[in-house]
């Protein structure tokens, strides 16, 4: 039991939690403005097509009138923007998680449910439990460790259970069927005609996909270096998928950052140093403290 909880809650640097927070909350903004921004027009058009999912029927969620969607949109936008800076991680974190879930219930209640947001939802629902985390902080945290671990588990579950779903809905014939051909015909890029021209190529790809999905849990037994290689492979898979049939799985890819030492990427600090360096060269003294590790005024 002890070993299970230790594995489930490993100590991780708080800087990694801060970095994942920034990425996840910025993605939420991109999602509601770009990828699922159509929902805002939707309410003005055919509200009759809205058929709430079970969660929308259980929870007392309001019907998505224009007023509701506009309110959710703006509160979510502002909360996510501030949350991305690490301020008020609990209050804003829970607010974003709840409103984004509501946003998705609306988005998915028009007849189509996407399956690329499970791991992102897990990240959003667990990151608030970590409390304050500053960029660059190397202090270890087991609360942070749990949030990252369950996000990783959700990423791998998405792959592994997708293979299971193929067996359930398609059966073993899925492997030799025309599912990829169908995808390419319906939404393939110009160059993908090359794919259907080669006999057996898409069938081989189907075997490859299922093998990859079933093997994905092995990422947890790999050592550091091999694990990073495996994760790069996961990203490559999505890159190829996107190039072929323009399915990005972007929210899933953002959640997958939980596997990587992203605390080492510090664009804000890098940028400020460049600016400060430029100033120093032009004869000005810059006495600014370490910028993005400044204490957050609101705290938690």
């Amino acid at each position: 039991m002890r070993r299970v909880t230790e594995w489930l809650m490993p100590p991780v640097p708080l800087g990694r939690v801060a970095a994942l927070r920034t990425c996840v909350y910025l993605f939420v903004i991109a999602d509601i403005t770009i990828f699922t921004g159509w929902v805002r027009n939707r309410t003005a058009v055919p509200p009759e097509l809205y058929e709430p999912l079970r969660i929308g029927r259980i929870l007392p969620l309001p019907a998505p009138t224009a007023a509701v969607v506009t309110t959710v949109f703006w509160v979510l936008l502002v909360s996510a923007l501030v949350a991305a800076t690490g301020r008020a991680p609990r209050l804003l974190g829970w607010t974003v998680a709840a409103l984004y879930l509501e946003w998705l219930v609306i988005v998915f209640s028009y007849g189509k449910v996407d399956h690329d947001r499970f791991a992102l939802l897990v990240a959003l629902l667990t990151l608030p439990t970590v409390g304050r985390a500053r960029h660059g902080d190397s202090t270890r945290s087991v609360r942070g460790g749990w949030s990252l671990r369950v996000t990783q588990l959700a990423v791998v579950a998405t792959y592994f259970l997708a293979a299971w779903a193929k067996l359930r809905y398609g059966g073993i014939e899925w492997l030799t069927g025309a599912t990829l051909t169908r995808a390419v015909v319906r939404r393939g890029a110009e160059w993908t005609e090359l794919l259907t021209d080669v006999p057996g190529l898409l069938i081989a790809a189907q075997f490859g996909i299922v093998a990859f999905e079933l093997a994905s849990p092995l990422v947890f037994v790999l050592r550091k270096r091999a694990r990073y290689v495996a994760i790069s492979g996961f990203y490559l898979f999505h890159l190829v998928t996107f190039a072929a049939i323009s399915i990005s799985f972007l929210p899933h890819q953002v959640a997958m950052l939980s596997f990587l030492p992203i605390e080492r990427v510090r664009p804000v600090r890098w940028l400020r140093r460049r600016v400060a360096g430029g100033r120093a060269r032009s004869g000005q003294r810059d006495a600014a403290p370490e910028p993005d590790s400044a204490p957050s005024p609101l705290g938690s």
Partner: protein, 145 residues
């Protein structure tokens, strides 16, 4: 390093196991309705290598007789959503007025005469498209004058 109380550890363990259980249950026996615990069934259906690939399209005829395919940009309704609700349009074609109205809002200068849902079937041979297709009208609605 931060510390975690025993109840804190236990609560996290229970939440993890519970969520995992719901997800596995959803995968084994659930449906899209069980979001976020539904099965990850995107592209999970097997398609026969010799059956045609079909897609649902919304086709309209203008009062000048021009035939146009109404895309997501035209109506705000995505193709996958049309496909998800085809049964609803075939059961009651007057429901197509929703799409006609949505189109009208974006193109107030174009007058539509009919709006239909068609199933376009692209022919396959041995898992590869031949390039030809057939259209079947499954629901049609006359736009009132």
């Amino acid at each position: 390093m931060d510390s975690m109380t025993r109840p804190g550890r236990l609560a996290r363990l229970v939440v993890t196991v519970l969520a995992a259980g719901l997800l596995v249950a959803g995968t084994v026996a659930g449906s899209d309705d069980d979001f976020p615990f539904g099965p990850f069934k995107m592209y999970a259906y097997a398609d026969s290598p010799d059956d045609p690939v079909s897609e649902a399209l919304v086709l309209a005829a203008t009062d000048t007789g021009r035939r146009i395919i109404l895309t997501e940009n035209d109506t705000g309704v995505r193709r996958a959503e049309v496909e998800g609700q085809v049964g609803r349009f075939t059961a009651d074609p007057t429901e197509l007025r929703i799409i006609a109205h949505a189109y009208r809002r974006r193109h107030p200068d174009v007058r539509l005469a009919t709006v239909s849902v068609i199933i376009r079937r692209h022919e396959l041979s041995d898992g590869r498209p031949t390039g030809s297709f057939r259209d079947e009208v499954v629901a049609q609605w006359q736009v009132p004058r």
